[in-house]
């Protein structure tokens, strides 16, 4: 694989190159005490020198006192927001001359560069690709937006307190599926190894100054990633997990976790792979009918509603549905795990319920 070594200004050049090529460049920014993805114009818009501390139900930004551009892990937002927006119109219907005319809602798919996609997030995009593109039907909006997205990965140099991508086999390094991949190589000055993973990436790489990367540079990058792999805040044993969960619907742990779980739905909405949605039909008092869809959560009571009742009336059944789907039945439905080990569901659960801990508890008591 080709690669070049650049300094921070090289990344600035990359961002302006992307902008000049007509991409809206989105990347990590620091807003209201968290790192969220937003438009960036240069590396100065990145959370320079910031890191994060994450634990179950807790997230704090910390000043690292360095000049690193990528010294944090994933925040509350994921790229799903841009590929599968929270609210979308599906179609409009007009009624005239005694018939209905259905019109596909306009799809907005601006050319976007996702700058700073982590390995787990790239894997999550891959999982949603299977849901929306590769399982028989194609979601046209998702397809358009996916096609218009250029992916610039950043490999992780430190893992967060709730990360377990190493367990899920999705990170912290990246070997493909991106247009460009960046690894931040600590030192004075900090170097950035930029590799390309697609023709589009190669074209961008060509325009980038810097010097061609040599074996030693790739070795440095490998060590950075290795270090991140060694610092995972969490781990999850995946061996045999499908059967463990599918065969254990009456495990006492489900009732136990249901006591603590608020059924608030945060975990599902923060998760980069959760794809559930509901539809809403509306006719304005003076206009056409519209059908739209918006994110939904299996923690809602209505989610499993059949006329007159809900199948999953208890929180126990909803938590079980969520975790079993994520880690077990996802394999049956889409041929992979539904979890990439990003840790968002752990960090952003207001009461700090930890999926890795729950799996461990189910395993231990199953053994006993």
């Amino acid at each position: 694989m080709d690669g070049v070594l650049v300094s921070r200004s090289g990344l600035d050049d990359l961002i302006s190159d992307l902008t000049q090529r007509g991409y809206e460049v989105l990347g990590p920014t620091r807003v209201d005490g968290a790192i969220v993805y937003d438009r960036i114009g240069s590396t100065a818009d990145l959370p320079v020198g910031w890191g994060d501390e994450q634990g179950p139900g807790g997230y704090r930004l910390v000043d690292r006192g360095d000049e690193g551009l990528f010294g944090y892990t994933v925040g509350p937002m994921s790229w799903k927001r841009f590929l599968f927006p929270p609210r979308q119109d599906l179609f409009t219907v007009s009624r005239s001359n005694g018939t209905l005319t259905f019109n596909q809602a306009e799809i907005t798919a601006p050319e976007r560069a996702f700058f700073g996609v982590r390995a787990c997030e790239l894997a999550a995009i891959g999982i949603q690709d299977r849901v929306f593109l590769e399982s028989g039907f194609v979601d046209p909006g998702y397809a358009e937006r996916r096609r218009s997205a250029l992916v610039v990965v950043v490999e992780c140099g430190t893992a967060g307190g709730t990360c377990f991508c190493a367990s899920m086999g999705t990170g912290p390094g990246c070997s493909g599926g991106f247009d460009l991949a960046i690894t931040e190589l600590p030192g004075d000055p900090i170097d950035y190894l930029v590799r390309s993973g697609s023709p589009a990436g190669a074209a961008l790489l060509e325009g980038l100054g810097g010097r061609p990367a040599g074996d030693a540079d790739f070795e440095r990058a490998r060590r950075v990633v290795e270090q991140a792999a060694a610092s995972m805040g969490r781990s999850l044993e995946v061996e045999g997990i499908r059967d463990l969960l599918v065969d254990g619907p009456e495990h006492p742990r489900w009732s136990e976790v249901a006591e603590r779980c608020l059924a608030c739905g945060n975990c599902t909405l923060a998760c980069p792979t959760c794809f559930c949605s509901t539809t809403v039909d509306r006719v304005s008092l003076d206009g056409d009918a519209v059908r739209s869809r918006r994110w939904d959560s299996c923690f809602g009571l209505d989610f499993s509603g059949l006329h007159g009742h809900s199948v999953r009336a208890t929180v126990k059944s909803r938590y079980r549905q969520w975790m079993t789907h994520k880690l077990a039945t996802w394999h049956d439905q889409f041929g992979s795990s539904g979890c990439v080990g990003c840790g968002r569901c752990i960090t952003w659960c207001p009461v700090g319920i930890d999926i890795t801990q729950e799996v461990r508890a189910i395993r231990e008591e199953a053994v006993r």
């Binding site: 209201d32 005490g33 807790g58 608020l262 739905g265 003076d286 994110w295 009571l301 009461v351």
Partner: protein, 257 residues
């Protein structure tokens, strides 16, 4: 007379904010007025058309003998009765009297207590008559009000979710204030509808839409304790605009003990 459905707006003990919400639907107001006949809405019109009414929007809680009788006649005249707001749906802020001695309350506010006639409690409309649909919120949301009226006219199920504020917080993309700032937030147990505004303005949700479906009040309060919130502050937080809603009341009572 037109064949349009007749709409009436009724007021009981309240601040008028929920019925003002109807006038605040600036973009939809004239369309609504075109689709229904606004037959009785004293705040906006001195014209009054006799009942029965197809839809009644009822604001406010029952706090006097007179109102307890009046709501019965409202119900009789209404085909579809929608309560609007925390007062009508849960008793409102004035339900704080339910924990106090009303005579003492009267003497605090009025110099001549014998002039005031009032009930000892503030109760929601559903405690007096059957209610067909409840819109929560202090105040209700404009979007939800329009949705209920439209859905009624189109005979469809209104899109009024009963899950938590957190869902809309995430849809909106607000980083959770509780997780990122340790700010106590009632969002996880509060019904969505406001659009998750408080966290977007960097404060915890204060529960003005009342309890969500499956609200795990006790469990959230345990997490609040972990953030260092005192028992008395927990009681205050649960006793505001939906204090008498059962899931809130039960837990505030347990902390007050």
């Amino acid at each position: 007379m037109t064949g349009k459905p007749k709409l009436a707006v009724w007021k009981f003990a309240s601040c008028d904010g929920c019925q003002l919400t109807l006038l605040d639907c600036e973009d939809e107001l004239l369309a609504i007025a075109g689709a229904v006949e606004i037959a009785n809405f004293p705040e906006a019109s001195s014209a009054e058309i006799a009942g029965p009414y197809d839809v009644s929007l009822v604001e406010g809680s029952i706090t006097t003998e007179h109102d307890a009788a009046r709501i019965l006649t409202v119900r009789e005249q209404s085909r579809f009765l929608v309560t609007i707001g925390a007062c009508a749906t849960a008793g409102g802020v004035q339900a704080l009297r339910n924990w106090a001695d009303v005579d003492e309350f009267i003497s605090i506010v009025y110099a001549e207590p014998e002039f005031i006639s009032t009930l000892a409690t503030s109760t929601p409309i559903a405690a007096h008559v059957p209610v067909d649909f409840e819109l929560s919120g202090c105040p209700i949301s404009k979007v939800q009000l329009v949705e209920v009226i439209e859905a009624f006219l189109q005979r469809r199920k209104p899109d009024i979710p009963t899950y938590s504020v957190c869902v809309d917080c995430k849809l909106r993309g607000t980083p959770c204030v509780m997780v990122r700032g340790g700010v106590p937030c009632l969002g996880p147990i509060t019904r969505t509808g406001c659009g998750a505004i408080c966290p977007a303005y960097d404060r915890g949700c204060y529960g003005c839409f009342g309890p969500a479906e499956s609200a795990k009040v006790q469990e959230l309060m345990k997490a609040w304790e972990g953030l260092g919130v005192s028992d008395s502050d927990i009681v205050r937080a649960l006793r505001t605009f939906n204090a008498a809603a059962e899931p809130f009341q039960e837990v505030s009572d347990s902390y007050a003990r």
